[in-house]
Subunit: 199 residues, 2 copies
DNA sequence: AACTATACGGAACCTTGTTCCGTTTTAGCA
DNA sequence: TGCTAAAACGGAACAAGGTTCCGTATAGTT
């Protein structure tokens, strides 16, 4: 799991309780507003939704882009953290498909972000790296477990799968909601095809 | 060739001379400013550079995006119009390589635009179509001539070549300036490889 | 309880897109 | 050539969004 709402570069200074509360509130508000109005939504709207003044918002997120980055990282963290949780509660194969479903849901909410990521703003340069660095091990451990249990074949790595699913999601615009689920199901069946069969 | 500075949808109404002068001036200024500061440059800066008030600018280009579109179309036109000119002055093979060089120069200036094109703004939806519709015949006629002269093989069409060169350009960021030229040269040599040989 | 570093709120400021309107210029015509 | 109406001009004014500033409030400490 990940600690809490630490904007990076805050080495060890205690954060006042009310400040932390506001940091979280703003991040949640931003997440909600981004989902509805896209990442270009006005800062004031986010502040209002969080029940906070713009001054407070800017104290914690000095630039608009910091807010976008924070929301993105938090969601990546949540997605990554779901892996061990699923692994603890399900069979390896179940855990794997469950996590991929979770992952597709994550990707689906990122339509607006995609444009921002490729906008050339260097503030977003760190995001793809964070994405890989965090999600690859998460999926990797699920894959390993499923391979060890003999439920899937051993010749696919986390990176390939991550990118394949992502591409499936972006290709299927936003129409038939379960098309992506069927496609991902197909992928997983493909993984099962060459399984060793040992349980 | 293409008439002059006709923003589309101007059926037959005479344009006053000073107006036409300003339209051209603004378009040229925008081209220059975009090249330096990118397509997000402030409108006022463009107006100032054109020696014109913002009111005048907005009279001819009611939206920022109209200006971007106009510049883009004008440059596409210039690039397309270069084809017959080259064909008239050079051997078919020469004309072809000359035009491809011209085309790579055009693509190189479009770094900033690429982001805008994929920004989701529907105002830019028409541009890719215009791009193809205008450039394909231009290159197509050069190809035909070169094939007829026996200088190149016959099994490559304009679309493939346009996209191939474009991809070469975007792949090679903006470093070694002539890498692209060498790669395009390679492509053309490839075209020559299976030539019929008849002159 | 008093004190201080920290945080809060929101008015104010700046930049940028867009509109409005009084003034100027062009082009046809007598 | 001088007259006139339509067309075009310029830039002040407006709207909206990002960012800063600073007087006030509060958490945490002694």
């Amino acid at each position: 799991m990940t600690e809490h709402g630490d904007t990076p570069g805050t080495p060890a200074r205690r954060v006042r309780a009310d400040a932390q509360r506001n940091i979280d509130a703003v991040r949640e508000a931003a997440k909600a507003v981004f989902a509805v109005s896209g990442v270009d939504a006005p800062v004031r709207e986010i502040a209002a939704r969080a029940g906070v003044g713009v001054g407070t918002l800017y104290r914690h997120f000095p630039q608009r882009s910091d807010l976008v980055v924070a929301v993105f990282r938090h969601e990546v963290d949540a997605c990554a953290d779901a892996a061990p949780a699923l692994a603890a509660e399900h069979e390896p194969g179940e855990a794997l498909t469950g996590w991929l479903r979770r992952y597709t849901r994550f990707i689906a909410t990122k339509r607006g972000l995609a444009a921002a990521l490729h906008s050339g703003d260097p503030a977003f340069d760190v995001l793809p790296a964070y994405f890989d660095q965090r999600l690859r091990p998460a999926l990797g451990s699920l894959l390993e477990a499923a391979v060890a249990a003999g439920e899937i074949r051993a010749d696919v790595d986390a990176d390939d799968l991550l990118h394949a699913v992502r591409n499936l999601c972006v290709a299927a615009d936003d129409d038939g909601s379960d098309h992506v689920h069927r496609m991902v199901g197909l992928l997983v069946d493909g993984l099962r095809y060459g399984a060793s069969g040992r349980a």
